[in-house]
């Protein structure tokens, strides 16, 4: 694995973490409204999986979507501006934290109805198959989504039609405050794939190299004609489900235990122990990220609010 790529992954993960920490502060200051779902702890999944895509591949995810937006390369300032409801936001301030999209980068957005984007992923993949390309879709969703009808109907249809989708379950152990054991009749998400004729694989979602390799392999299988694939990324969110989560459903010890396997820490150790990079290089990246996030906040704060005319704009394509 080349150094440049590894350092870029490190940069992206640090960027997401720092972005999320600043978002949390801005939310507490009342500068971000609505719901805010932080991706801290899960960074390796979005960064590693998205790094494995080819240019034409698509990305779509649920409402915990800041990390995916930054991973596809969306402008940090425009993402922050969207969180603040500004006209310069990626969705013109009409989507908010849960609805970031960047279609130019084939990122179809964050979706806030659990499971609602799974059939969209199916359809996006159908269009690629229909047009005869070898592009695929990376569809991210949480463990909680595997219990909703959309999940079963979408995976089944992708199996029946042999559609190019990598179904990526980000298993962070909880659907809001409900553990997997209390919500799912089978504890391993990957066991659900066989019902749809799919191969599934459990992956250490805290190790970005594992995530990348597994996703690359899944995409290769799709392009080799083996049909849709299923990956279960075992991961953990350090923060609550959303801001204001009382966290009654888990212990501090549990959180601390997962933090020992921190995705940024794992990559950092790898880089240092294998002499791929030294501490100075990593610190330089940290400072550059710090500056990028501060500039993003500045851009967002200084950006104008949407004009009142925007209220009635874009209801239809053809008015």
């Amino acid at each position: 694995m080349d150094k440049e790529m590894l350092l870029d992954w490190y940069r992206q993960m640090v960027l997401i973490r720092r972005f999320e920490q600043r978002s949390s502060e801005l939310y507490q200051q009342g500068k971000i409204g609505g719901f805010l779902h932080l991706y801290i702890g899960q960074e390796a999944v979005a960064v590693g999986a998205i790094a494995a895509r080819q240019e034409g591949d698509h990305v779509i995810t649920a409402y915990r979507d800041h990390g995916h937006a930054l991973s596809v390369g969306s402008d940090t300032g425009r993402v922050m501006a969207e969180l603040m409801g500004k006209a310069t936001g990626v969705s013109k301030g009409k989507g908010g934290s849960m609805h970031l999209a960047d279609v130019e980068r084939r990122y179809w957005g964050g979706y806030a109805v659990v499971g609602g984007h799974l059939p969209l992923a199916t359809g996006i993949a159908l269009a690629e198959q229909y047009k005869g390309t070898d592009n695929a879709v990376l569809c991210f969703f949480g463990d909680g989504a595997t219990n909703i009808g959309y999940f079963h109907e979408s995976l089944n249809l992708s199996g029946v039609w042999d559609l190019p989708v990598v179904w990526i379950c980000e298993n962070n152990q909880y659907g809001m405050g409900t553990t997997i054991e209390r919500a799912s009749a089978v504890p391993r998400m990957v066991d659900k794939a066989c019902a749809y004729g799919m191969e599934g694989k459990q992956v250490n979602g805290m190790d970005i190299i594992d995530v990348y390799e597994a996703t690359r392999e899944a995409l290769q299988k799709i392009r080799d004609g083996q049909g849709p694939q299923f990956l279960e990324m075992l991961t953990y969110r350090y923060e609550g489900h959303s801001m204001g989560d009382p966290l009654r459903y888990r212990t501090k010890d549990e959180v601390e235990k997962w933090r020992e396997d921190d995705p940024i820490g794992i990559l950092e150790r790898h880089l240092l122990q294998e002499d791929i990079a030294d501490e100075v290089e990593l610190e330089e990246i940290d400072s550059a990220v710090e500056q990028e996030v501060e500039e993003a906040v500045e851009f967002a704060e200084e950006s104008p609010l949407p004009q009142p005319e925007a209220l009635f704009e874009d209801i239809y394509v053809e008015a």
Partner: protein, 324 residues
């Protein structure tokens, strides 16, 4: 001009649009090998192949969402729900996804999907298979809801819908499939979405209707004419965006109106039309504006009971006479 059924008009529109544009394809339950449960796509599977005429599993949520996804990524899907009753399973995919994405993501994506759904009562199918839930879908801004009453309009409106870049629900009242009327042959015409139409001229009373209600209203108008009462019949054709122009213009001439719809009276099309008439033509109101609609019961199976609950020309005539 040829006299064809509304079923044939819809079939012709689909075939012509598929021939015209490679990105148009059909998906739904039994649309392919079976030929469609209402035989609208009979022969299409042989003619266009399984890539463009796609049988789906019984999965309304996936049909609704996957059609939207394919539309987002450059295709023009025509997704058929076997009946509009089943489309209620896909309410989230239709109104919360297909219809929201263009606005919610700041116009980054278009969703040019057409959802076709036969609906309506009167065929002894019982409570769960007989809904006319059009207003549920028409409630939401950013979805377009079309429901034609004649073969000519059905063909022209469906062609407009398929060519449109917006998500559209196209509701076909199943008892209208047999309605026969004149449709131009060898002419690629369209009917604009969001434009109401005067289907019959008259000066004594305005009847506002659409779909099955329109045919019922025309039958009532014929009867009334024999008694010397001339009703003007307005066909809304599109429930959203709603074009009230012709209805208001007519009302300013007749000062009296009856609104006819097959759905339930409460919170219905009639409620909306009456509200708009009083907002925009209050000074012209000469009598209470009447609503003729489905009675407030789940539709029963027994033919006699079912017919009691549904609209018919006699109920329209009665309503007209009450205000003349």
């Amino acid at each position: 001009m040829a006299r064809i059924t509304m079923r044939q008009a819809i079939t012709d529109a689909l075939r012509e649009e598929m021939q015209r544009d490679e990105t148009v394809f059909i998906m739904g339950e039994e649309v392919g090998i079976w030929g469609g449960t209402y035989a609208v796509t009979r022969g299409f599977h042989d003619e266009f192949g399984g890539k463009r005429v796609r049988d789906t599993p019984i999965s309304e949520m996936a049909i609704g969402g996957a059609a939207a996804g394919a539309a987002m990524n450059g295709l023009r899907p025509v997704a058929e729900f076997m009946t509009i009753n089943f489309a209620m399973l896909a309410l989230d995919a239709i109104v919360n996804h297909a219809a929201k994405l263009h606005y919610m993501f700041g116009a980054q994506m278009k969703v040019p999907v057409v959802y076709r759904a036969p609906g309506g009562g009167g065929r002894q199918l019982g409570a769960t298979h007989s809904h006319t839930p059009d207003v549920i879908f028409a409630h939401f801004p950013s979805l377009k809801v079309v429901s034609p009453s004649t073969p000519y309009d059905a063909k022209g409106l469906l062609k407009s819908a398929i060519r449109s870049d917006d998500p559209i629900l196209f509701i076909e009242h199943a008892t209208l499939y047999q309605v026969r009327d004149e449709v131009p042959e060898d002419e690629d015409y369209t009917v604009p979405i969001g434009v109401a139409d005067v289907k019959r001229e008259g000066s004594d009373v305005t009847i506002v209707a659409y779909a099955q209600g329109l045919q019922v209203s025309l039958a009532a108008a014929e009867q009334l004419s024999k008694e010397g009462i001339e009703a003007e019949v307005i066909d809304l054709r599109t429930l959203r965006p709603l074009d009230m122009g012709p209805a208001i213009e007519s009302f300013k001439k007749t000062f009296k109106a009856v609104v006819v719809e097959e759905g339930h009276r409460s919170y219905g099309v009639g409620a909306e039309v009456v509200a708009r008439l009083q907002e925009e033509a209050f000074d012209y109101i000469d009598a209470p504006i009447k609503r003729v609609a489905q009675l407030e019961v789940p539709l029963p199976y027994s033919r006699e009971l079912e017919q009691m609950a549904l609209i018919n020309p006699d109920r329209v005539i009665e309503a007209v006479k009450e205000i003349l």
